[in-house]
Subunit: 895 residues, 2 copies
């Protein structure tokens, strides 16, 4: 029969093959600490095998398991020189329950098993502290009844209250030993009432009952629900560890502490942590009571109130760190001056602390750069890149929405982009609150501190733009209601007015009345060092999605290696430009359109000159005009009237044109290269602006600029042929006029399934291809990201999808198609440059996929560039390792 | 050197390997007729090789080619016993120009080459008809100058007018021979003026010049443009045929005719056609002048004015038919009682005639059924299935739109579905005129004669629905304007009022004021026989898209083998049903929704009972509710107010709900299985209606009904799992309640790329899959069919696409994905039933693809079922042949 009880003591531990599986996290950890020769209390663990046997026979411990536990107890008696139910020096045990994974709902620790009416008196005498002994016995009885019989702790409290009144205690406990004895007797009667039988006085029976109760806790409703949620197998089971009691709650030389192997604020190796004199057994309530001793402040030589050997502790902690290969924290106890180690784990830390530790450990030669990189969760870097609300202060939460673009911001409520601009001109901070944003809100979004929308999700217009420009954004705050006319924002009955200050937290989705205190963590040197490690490790290049100088500069500061997506349409919404755009749209024929475009040309050109200068020779990928023209036209009666007057066209004509351009499904409408084909003069103007800007910026910098022109929404090679012919023609004309020839690339945005299915044909023409995973997800899935929040949340709740496919690439569907596209394109043109420029270019899980798919670069919003650099490094390391693993197993296969 | 001149005469023809390529259509045809021993005029053809050599040396005929032509002339002199420039019996030639393909812009026929000032007199004497001789000479001079020197025929007319005045002619021609001689002299001077040299008097030089002019006509602007448009190679070239003149314009025993080998109205073998006494040389102007003799009416024994041997002609024509293996028409001439065959071709015929001929020829054992099937264009059957406007009468065309659903209809203009219903109740015919139609117009579309919309294209809502129910429809009539308030329809200034009668022709796109006379061709027995041939030949099953009893019955009459798509949403728009639907949508919670659905249940059930009964055991595939809920809600203030009052809800609440349900891109929105997942009570109600109806219909008919339930808009296997679980649950409950278990299938509608990319997972659950090529085209291409007409027309114009991808499957893109889906599904479940139920299920080119892709069935609108049956047969035959061809060449490859 398989061994089910595994003993441990300092320097020696019985450890099965998969210790965590068999002994649970706690049991395995204690066995590990014991084998490192650290001073653990001696004990033994009843393995999950024991649980499994018991669970199959209706919860009663088998005779053979009882015998094996008994042997464990006898071993422990020998190890401690004490005896269970002994006439002197009775052995008392603590029992802890643990599983392979952390899990709520399992049995709490039960202390002082072995106390009974007889041993309590001996124990009292041994310690010379009868109150402590009785207090321990009373607590044990209550714990026992609660665990084994499901007794209600409230009943014990009532009993205490009754005894207190009846016997007239002065404090919270009996004043006399007889008082204690009476209280204990009452407790035992209560147990008998609840259980229908007397509580066992035999310590071994107490132990067996506690083990049985701990086993049964596996099936508690909380634990079961947790397992369902986290996909943990129902028969994984738990283990129970019993070890000798440490009396850390008694006397000036006792207490509880948690030590950490490093100063997490710098990452340097140094003992830190806290010790609480006369702390309780359970270390989780640190800070609640007792005298707190700072282990770091306690110099090695200084006279210290620490009642044990600090240097020994420091040495123990170092040994654990060395074993883990990572900063660790160690729970320890001191019982009457003697130091015991109870548990260890990797040190919990914030992302900045994690970076410090990882970088220091590389410096100290303890871990390789690769290892350091793998220890940092790329997504967590977000915290370092955006302002956050200082927690701790109370705040006035009025609603919650979807956290759509991270960071927090405070400002005065405004309900229109214009109001945001007006207040910005007065130097005031605003939060733009809209039912939903539209492209012509963008100028307002650029000047506001944050954006709050009633509708939408993580990929609505507001969310995408806000992430792009690094503004906090909360969307889908459905409980809010805007009354434009009244100028009010109503939150479940509470009315805020335009001009009132609110705070939004785009990381948590919280919406708070008033201004909260915000912090913006500084990027430390270690962060930069870590990203240097990342740059050495990664294969994927990281570009940015940027169209303004502000974004481009921010992205360069964050280490972007070029622009992967410059959306030119955003350039047409600013100020007088939208006027020229509208003029073009309303023009009667090509001549009228060309006249309006001629006014836009110098503005576009100067935009591009600036971007080219900022990017200083790095690639700049410019996407031609993409959205349907109706997005540029005014909405609502007032704006239409104003625009008509401004442009000098009859209102009726403007309304007619708006009506003509209206689309049922704009996402699938007259946009992208379809505009370029219907109105070649648009692409001609844009191409001219690009080439002229390239010449100008090249001359200024003395270095040739090689623009990359990307054609959106391609589905056919012939579309690409058509638009490329226009671009080539303009290139030739500009070369003739200026006497300078610009080198340039023309590529296709791969965002429709058809383009990918025919990537072989497209790669015959395209110098590069960039996968647009936003639109690709929309078309592959057939879901509009503007309309999807409604049913996708249901899907997530029902477990039909694991996560929003817009946030992280749907590997099984969209990913399958991307892989197909890469294969087809590379078959025709092996050296073609392939990238991705959707939102997912900054998502770590997606980046992991793009590495495997063999793309050349990802492009993401400026504020996600550091995340992408790290994620790309991790992806490269993991992919490399998986190949080595596959290679190794292949090699084995061959041998 | 390659031979360039090929002679022919009755019973003997020199024929190169690829005769049509080398000799042109006309030359090759004459050679073929000659070799069939038919009485062709003797002659020779200068081949395309001759043209090619000449074209490369700037248009001058080489000495060697001249010699070869001279040999041809000498051969012809021997064959005819006449001599070029002869002292007696001069040889006169006709020269015709032809290429491999029919092409406009090539040289016209030149007659009477060989006439000069001398031979004309001999010719006049020979005939005893000097006027005829001079008339021929004059015409020859004009033709020569026009072809060889590009002279303007108008100048010759002016010359004639001048001579007429000067010499005082009484008629259109000179009255005397001297008059003729003077006119001829004037003509020759004019030629010399134009050409700068005298017109050759030597017949051989005349011939060489005409051949050179004919060669040069290859480069005429009209011919060049035609070649560019039709992708004909520039160096394909032409051939020139010279043959002895036939004098069919002279005397009572001459004339021109066209004979046909069959009576096309029955297909029976019988000489038909016409002969025109004293017709002109060119047979195209039949009917213009002369006495017309009906060849069919002329009994073999009856005394006939036909100046040649009718039986010989009948025999010649039979011989041509035999050679062609198809009904043929033959151009012939009679010169002084002698019969000559000039040209033959397959008989031109209408679709009904083509069917008669094909069926007769099968009956006569002349061709196989397969051959008969391949001779009928499936698309042309449409003409036999819809009413058409009787042409010939003048009609008052007021506008043109997109021909969106074939057939013609007249009726009173109505601007709303309600008005159509009201007038229908009074027994009046209407044409429903709308800016665009919406699902709640469907009840009106069912009762109207035809639908006319200002917006949309061939796949807009109006078009799809109209085709489905077989109503004529014209869409996208952008020049029309509706003024609802005024009740007027304005067509370029012309105002029609509600109630005025118009006619629309959905085959041509014409919109006509007033009622036109319409004809509805009867389906003849031969049509039915042809479709029986088709049923024997095809592998693909043909089902129909039908949801009303009317449609289902029509489809059965047309030979549908079941319903492949029953759209249940259409059932919810009728009468009180839409009220219950709206109640459901507006309900506060699931209970409210269930209450409204309970009212819909009996109606749905009775719909299904009726369909099951009509289809009598054939498969019926019912698609669960598909469109987004907002489509069921009222539009416009008046309808909203009315609905709010009717349902007893506050108008404000109704507006709010409409606002909440509004979507940016409804096509990609909350629809299909997403509704079933958000509101499982909907699918539960529908499933219950289906199962209860199956039991009821099964009991009535005494035969089990096996319904097929199709889940729309699947993208994930888990969606299918979820909805199928609901259906299975209801099946179980109905079985418990009724004590009868219904067998049923559950399948997925494959209309999103993601579903197809994961068809392997979906096939694990789905009993069948049906490709929905409408939505698939929308998502693969990223185009909304409601918005695409605008740019797709530009695409067609620019040649970026060949045809609307909604009409005919885009084989390269959408087809690629369908093929992938078929492979993936069959890999998992080889016997899975796969079909298609988009509009393309009735499109012949698409059916050809679906055959190759290996689908099991296509489903199309009732009126396209016969087309699909024939197209499926052709596809099967072609695929089979291509396999045999591949097998054969493989076999050769192996040998």
């Amino acid at each position: 029969m398989a061994k089910r009880v595994f003993t441990f003591k300092r320097g020696a531990a019985e450890r099965p093959a998969d210790a965590a599986e068999a002994l649970g996290l706690k049991g395995a950890n204690l066995a590990m600490l014991a084998s490192l020769d650290l001073p653990v209390p001696p004990g033994f663990t009843v393995s999950t095998t024991g649980w499994r046997e018991t669970a199959t026979v209706n919860g009663a411990l088998s005779q053979s398991l009882r015998s094996e536990i008994l042997s464990g107890v006898e071993w422990l008696e020998a190890a401690t020189g004490r005896a269970f139910d002994g006439k002197a020096r009775p052995l008392l045990l603590a029992v802890r329950t643990g599983a392979r994974s952390q899990m709520p709902g399992l049995a709490d620790t039960v202390l002082d098993i072995g106390l009974n009416d007889r041993t309590v008196e001996i124990f009292a005498e041994e310690l010379g502290d009868p109150h402590f002994a009785f207090r321990s016995y009373r607590r044990f009885i209550e714990s026992f009844a609660t665990l084994v019989h499901g007794a209600d702790p409230g009943e014990f409290e009532e009993l205490m209250d009754a005894e207190r009144v009846h016997n007239g205690w002065r404090g919270p406990e009996p004043d006399t030993l007889d008082g204690w004895r009476s209280l204990i007797a009452g407790h035992l009667r209560l147990v008998e009432d609840v259980a229908g039988e007397a509580m066992p006085q035999t310590p071994f029976e107490q132990l067996v009952a506690v083990v049985g109760g701990a086993f049964a806790s596996w099936r508690s409703p909380v634990a079961r629900a947790f397992r369902v949620l986290h996909g943990i197998a129902e028969n994984a089971g738990l283990a129970v560890t019993a070890h000798a009691m440490i009396f850390n709650e008694r006397g000036e030389n006792s207490g509880t502490g948690r030590a950490v192997s490093r100063d997490l604020s710098t990452g340097r190796a140094q003992l830190t942590g806290e010790f609480i004199l006369r702390g309780r057994d359970e270390p989780r309530e640190i800070g609640e009571r007792g005298t707190v001793i700072d282990l770091a402040a306690m110099g090695p030589t200084s006279a210290s109130p620490f009642p044990a050997d600090r240097e020994a502790l420091a040495d123990h902690v170092r040994r654990v760190e060395e074993h883990l290969g990572d900063a660790c924290e160690v729970d320890f106890m001191v019982g009457d001056g003697e130091l015991f180690i109870l548990q260890s784990r990797p040190a919990r830390r914030g992302v900045d602390e994690a970076i410090h530790v990882a970088v220091r450990m590389v410096e100290e030669g303890l871990i390789a750069e690769e290892e350091a990189l793998l220890r940092i969760d790329p997504a967590s870097l977000d915290q370092l890149l955006h302002p956050t609300i200082e927690r701790g202060e109370a705040f006035d939460l009025i609603a919650r929405g979807v956290p759509a673009s991270p960071g927090a911001a405070s400002g005065q409520i405004v309900f229109s982009a214009q109001a945001a601009l007006d207040l910005a001109n007065e130097g005031r901070r605003t939060i733009l609150v809209r039912t939903e944003t539209l492209p012509d809100d963008i100028h307002g979004m650029h000047v506001t501190e944050g954006v709050l929308t009633i509708r939408g999700g993580t990929t609505s217009h507001a969310a995408v733009v806000a992430r792009g420009i690094g503004k906090p954004c909360v969307t889908g705050a459905g409980s809010l209601r805007i009354d434009q006319d009244a100028g009010t924002l109503t939150a479940s009955g509470r009315v805020l007015r335009e001009g009132d200050v609110i705070t939004i937290d785009g990381t948590s989705g919280e919406i708070i009345a008033g201004a909260s205190r915000l912090t913006r963590p500084m990027l430390t040197g270690d962060f930069a060092i870590l990203l240097e490690f990342a740059d050495r490790a990664r294969r994927l290049h990281v570009r940015t999605n940027a169209e303004t100088p502000l974004e481009a500069r921010a992205a360069r500061a964050f280490g972007a290696e070029g622009i992967g997506l410059c959306r030119t349409e955003h350039m047409f919404f600013q100020g007088e430009r939208v006027g020229a755009m509208r003029e073009m749209i309303l023009a009667e024929g090509e001549d009228g359109r060309r006249a309006a475009l001629a006014r836009l040309l110098p503005m576009q050109r100067s935009d591009f000159v600036e971007l080219f200068e900022i990017m200083a020779g790095q690639p700049v990928t410019i996407r031609l005009l993409d959205p349907p023209l109706h997005e540029f036209l005014p909405k609502g009666e007032a704006e239409i009237a104003e625009t008509a007057a401004h442009l000098g066209v009859p209102e009726r004509k403007l309304i007619e044109r708006i009506e003509t351009l209206r689309e049922f499904n704009p996402m699938l409408g007259h946009r992208g290269c379809r505009l370029a084909i219907s109105y070649p003069e648009i692409v001609e103007t844009q191409a001219r602006a690009i080439f002229e800007a390239a010449i100008e910026a090249g001359q200024k910098k003395g270095k040739d600029v090689v623009p990359e022109i990307m054609i959106p929404l391609i589905s056919l090679r012939k579309e690409l042929d058509f638009v490329k012919a226009r671009i080539d023609d303009i290139a030739e004309r500009v070369a003739q006029e200026r006497g300078r020839r610009v080198s340039y690339l023309v590529g296709a945005m791969m965002e429709l399934p058809r383009a990918i299915l025919r990537a072989d044909l497209i790669a015959q023409v395209a110098d590069f291809c960039s996968f647009g995973t936003n639109d690709l997800t929309q078309t592959v899935y057939g879901i509009s990201r503007d309309d999807s929040s409604n049913f996708l949340s249901t899907y997530e709740r029902l477990g039909i999808i694991d996560r929003d496919p817009f946030q992280s690439i749907d590997v099984e569907g969209v990913g399958e198609l991307v892989t197909l596209g890469v294969e087809k394109a590379r078959r025709v043109r092996p050296d073609i440059t392939l990238g991705v420029c959707g939102e997912q270019g900054g998502d770590p899980a997606s980046i992991n996929f793009f590495e495997k798919a063999g793309l050349d670069y990802v492009s993401c919003s400026p504020y996600r560039v550091p995340i992408a650099r790290l994620a790309a490094a991790q992806a490269a390391i993991r992919f490399e390792r998986s190949l080595r693993g596959a290679g190794a197993s292949k090699a084995r296969g061959r041998a």
